[in-house]
């Protein structure tokens, strides 16, 4: 039998497998997600970096499901372009995942003898197949299930230690001791079956001892970032793929003395958030494209009335209902330009699961200190991917709102200051009463239809964002070559990995991953582009939204081109690497 090769990733140190990708598939109720989560957590507990994404059929419940897990000795921020193992509890409708689970030619397909062969589309890859009596082995164990027998087999191929598997099972099923025991016995049966098999996908040993890492989704990370930053009021309406962020926040807010209100719609969500902010309690809502579209008018109100707030947009495929369960970076245009009038506001984009924490935290501080709404562009991939991350640093102090604590006779809420930021009086402050208004107003907040007041207040609102010192967080700039690859958000992961794999061939390439998209830090960007001969803008949408935004905003290298594709399937390092190689040599 041949040895199963993990993906060496084309790195110069080929020979040491860099990562192994496993897809666990089956019909609804087969326990695919449970098995995937156990595998992910066991790998993480064993000291590996691991990342899991999931896919499922259109059915509300009971449809086919796939848990895709990538395990590596070094941080992984995206899925690989090929899978080494496809493990099926059964094969019902699993052919639908063919595009998402490209099997390596030397890969392995594991299935149940009772369910026959895997769909032809997988067998065509050249991967070899092995059939096991999964269901039969499970039946011999009281409470045993085929998914866990399969998992035991896969874990043995990977060489994952039993202790890590036991801890992962206890962590996930701990509330049901009988299920824990049955699962462990079932996994043991799978392991015995694997003992007869000589194929092994051996990974490089873990790079670090466990203990210094966290396991979380981007949605959880964004929620935690909000709480670290002091958000204590959230109002939101359920929407895929932002719902898990809200479901994490609901009890979490309660535990830190905050509140989550389920609003009747997104129009209500954003206005409740504005109300809380007016009262001085830092506030946030989370949504996806359709909800963000509904919030636009009130985001303009927050700009005009200078109310701090944060909207986390977990982007999905649009327009309209689009593909709710798939990722796309297609909301950049509406986030930047969706407000009517001249309405300066903040737009930020985290570029990894762990960055969802830091960037949401940063966004809250910016919104509060600049008294402006901030949109955080996460996406379905970042939000729903569960990943091992290095332990985040201790929370930095959050920038806070400038308050008028001793307002008096002459209090002017919208007084023009050099920074553009005016101290805000909160209800309850004697002498500070003013009316916050979406109508244009003068310095006191009194409605005004005078052109001079309009120009003055527009200028103030623009200036406060332009003059702010955003520090070094505005982008991740890596390398100093004359060829610049520009990207943002979840596309950063595969671009970064592609560059690493190219090794010396990428030495002339500089990566800029923009975290602050509005206001665009023009001077810093110009400086970061110094010496750039040409530039490639990579993003996941059909029209090249970032490319056009940058083209319209500042002077770019003469040979600036766009590489984009619509959502539905994430970029992988392989396809980006090919593109980069061709581009860098052109």
């Amino acid at each position: 039998m041949t040895e199963l090769q993990a993906n060496a990733g084309g790195s110069p140190s080929a020979g040491i497998p860099e990562s192994v990708s496993i897809a666990l598939v089956g019909s609804g109720g087969a326990g695919v997600m449970t098995a995937g989560n156990v595998l992910l957590e066991a790998a993480a507990l064993a000291g590996y970096y691991a990342l899991m994404t999931r896919s499922s059929g259109p059915q509300i419940r009971g449809g086919e499901a796939a848990a895709m897990v990538r395990i590596s000795a070094r941080p992984v921020e995206c899925m690989d372009e090929s899978f080494q193992v496809l493990a099926g509890v059964d094969w019902e409708n699993v052919h639908r995942f063919a595009a998402e689970i490209p099997l390596a030619t030397d890969g392995l397909i594991v299935g149940d003898v009772d369910h026959g062969d895997a769909p032809g589309v997988f067998a065509e890859s050249g991967a070899c197949s092995v059939s096991l009596p999964l269901a039969k082995l499970a039946r011999d164990i009281p409470g045993g299930r085929a998914n866990m027998v399969l998992l035991g087999f896969v874990a043995a191929l990977l060489g994952l230690p039993e202790r890590a598997l036991r801890r992962a099972v206890e962590s996930l099923l701990g509330k049901r001791p009988a299920a824990v025991e049955a699962s462990l016995l079932a996994m043991a049966a799978g392991r015995v079956a694997a003992a007869a098999d000589t194929r092994r996908a051996l990974l490089a040993p873990p790079a670090a001892a466990p203990g210094a890492r966290w396991l979380m989704t981007g949605n959880e990370a964004a929620g935690l970032g909000a709480l670290r930053a002091g958000v204590r009021f959230v109002a939101a309406y359920p929407i895929t793929p932002a719902t898990e962020l809200l479901e994490w926040l609901s009890p979490a807010l309660r535990s830190v003395g905050g509140v989550l209100v389920q609003a009747e719609d997104e129009l209500a969500s954003i206005n409740m958030v504005i109300g809380s902010s007016f009262g001085g309690v830092p506030a946030l809502t989370a949504t996806s494209g359709p909800g963000l579209a509904l919030m636009m008018e009130s985001l303009g109100l927050a700009v005009a009335a200078e109310m701090p707030l944060v909207v986390v947009d977990v982007m999905r495929v649009g327009p309209s209902t689009g593909i709710p369960t798939k990722s796309e970076q297609g909301d950049l245009n509406i986030a930047l330009h969706g407000l009517h009038g001249d309405a300066p506001h903040l737009v930020l984009a985290p570029n990894s699961v762990s960055d969802c924490l830091a960037t949401t935290h940063w966004a809250v501080g910016l919104a509060e200190s600049l008294q402006a709404p901030a949109i955080v562009l996460s996406d379905q991939f970042l939000g729903q991917a569960r990943a091992t991350i290095d332990r985040p640093g201790e929370p930095e102090p959050t920038a806070t709102r400038s308050l008028a604590n001793t307002a008096g006779e002459d209090y002017r809420r919208y007084v023009v200051t050099p920074s553009g930021v005016s101290p805000m009086a909160l209800p309850g402050t004697p002498g500070g009463a003013y009316t916050a208004d979406g109508l244009e107003h003068g310095e006191r907040g009194t409605p005004s239809s005078q052109a001079a007041d309009h120009a003055q207040q527009l200028g103030k609102r623009r200036r406060k964002l332009e003059l702010h010192d955003y520090g070094g967080r505005w982008a991740d700039v890596e390398g100093d070559g004359a060829l610049v690859v520009m990207t943002f958000g979840s596309t950063t992961g595969p671009v970064r990995e592609a560059l690493r794999r190219l090794g010396d061939a990428a030495s002339g390439i500089r990566l800029i991953s923009l975290r602050l998209l509005a206001p665009l830090p023009g001077a810093r960007l110009a400086e970061a582009l110094t010496g750039a001969r040409k530039m490639l803008v990579i993003e996941q949408n059909e029209s090249g939204q970032l490319f056009h935004y940058l083209r319209g905003s500042l002077a770019l290298p003469e040979r600036t081109t766009s590489f984009c594709k619509p959502g539905g399937q994430q970029f992988n390092p392989g396809e980006i690497g090919k593109q980069l190689l061709a581009w860098s040599q052109s």
Binding site: L215, L224, S255, V261, N271, S276, L301, P427, G438
Partner: protein, 278 residues
């Protein structure tokens, strides 16, 4: 403020700002401003502890005419804004004001859910059965045959029935007042503010510019003709037999307001973070 010995007794004018209203002379909304000021003074509230929240329309201009904190937001969304404020700052008195178009048409969904949610708010709707700010179009409460440039043959639609809807949706206090009955209206506003939960006041507030016939309302209203009950069945019978001109409190229930605890931590951030540590 007028001073009597060492105690400062607030007077209605303490609750008014020096900004001149944009309303037409004779507009009913002046009466609502007066009644609100009177009620707040009688309750000895402090202007800085009151927030008046509104949407868009003639009547929604009220916040800036008070000396309280005000929020004049977007069309139809006053109730959610006020809900967020009250839940975040439960110690404040929050009054929501607006018109029939703002509250029943563009903001209709929020009206239903504000009644149902029962946050401790006072919602005063100045109903003149017309859009005044946009110069005379029919609103949800406009009579079916009323003709206008936008609906030259009338709306052909049944009128919205705000009090019946408020009752069905779960509002805890429901009343009708009239701007021509300033003392009666001030009494109702006082009761609404002091009754916990969501209080809804329908105020007949004539638009003498686009609906001059509403000047006759003062001859048609019947003050004190609604009898207050805590029984929703009795209230329902009363409201379906009503012609819209009976004034008073229809319903005062005892449903506890929705106020999730805020500021009371039951755990810590460190506990939350520990759950992610491998």
């Amino acid at each position: 403020m007028s001073e009597k010995g060492a105690t400062v007794i607030p007077v209605p004018n303490d609750f008014k700002s020096d900004i001149k209203p944009v309303w037409c002379p004779g507009c009913g909304d002046f009466g609502v401003l007066n009644a609100m000021a009177k009620a707040m003074a009688r309750l000895a509230l402090r202007p800085e502890n009151v927030a008046v929240v509104s949407g868009i329309g003639c009547s929604s201009r009220i916040p800036a005419y008070t000396s309280c904190y005000g929020f004049h937001g977007v069309h139809g969304r006053a109730l959610p804004t006020a809900t967020g404020l009250k839940i975040a700052r439960p110690e404040l008195t929050v009054i929501v004001t607006g018109g029939d178009g703002d509250g029943y048409s563009i903001g209709g969904n929020h009206f239903l859910h504000a009644c149902r949610r029962n946050v401790d708010l006072t919602y005063i709707v100045m109903d003149n059965r017309v859009y005044g700010m946009t110069k005379g179009q029919p609103s949800p409460t406009t009579e079916t045959g009323w003709t206008s440039k936008l609906a030259p043959h009338g709306t052909g639609l049944n009128e919205f029935h705000p009090m019946a809807i408020a009752l069905a949706a779960g509002a805890n206090f429901i009343a009708r007042g009239f701007t021509g009955d300033p003392n009666g209206l001030a009494d109702i506003v006082m009761q609404a503010i002091t009754t916990p939960g969501f209080s809804f006041i329908e105020v007949l507030s004539p638009c003498i510019t686009f609906r001059p016939e509403q000047k006759e309302w003062k001859k048609m209203v019947r003050p004190g003709n609604l009898s207050s009950t805590a029984d929703p069945t009795l209230a329902a019978r009363q409201i379906f037999a009503d012609d819209g001109m009976n004034l008073g409190v229809l319903y005062a229930g005892e449903r506890p307001p929705y106020q999730p605890p805020i500021g009371l931590a039951t755990g810590s951030l460190a506990d939350l973070e520990a759950a992610f540590v491998l």
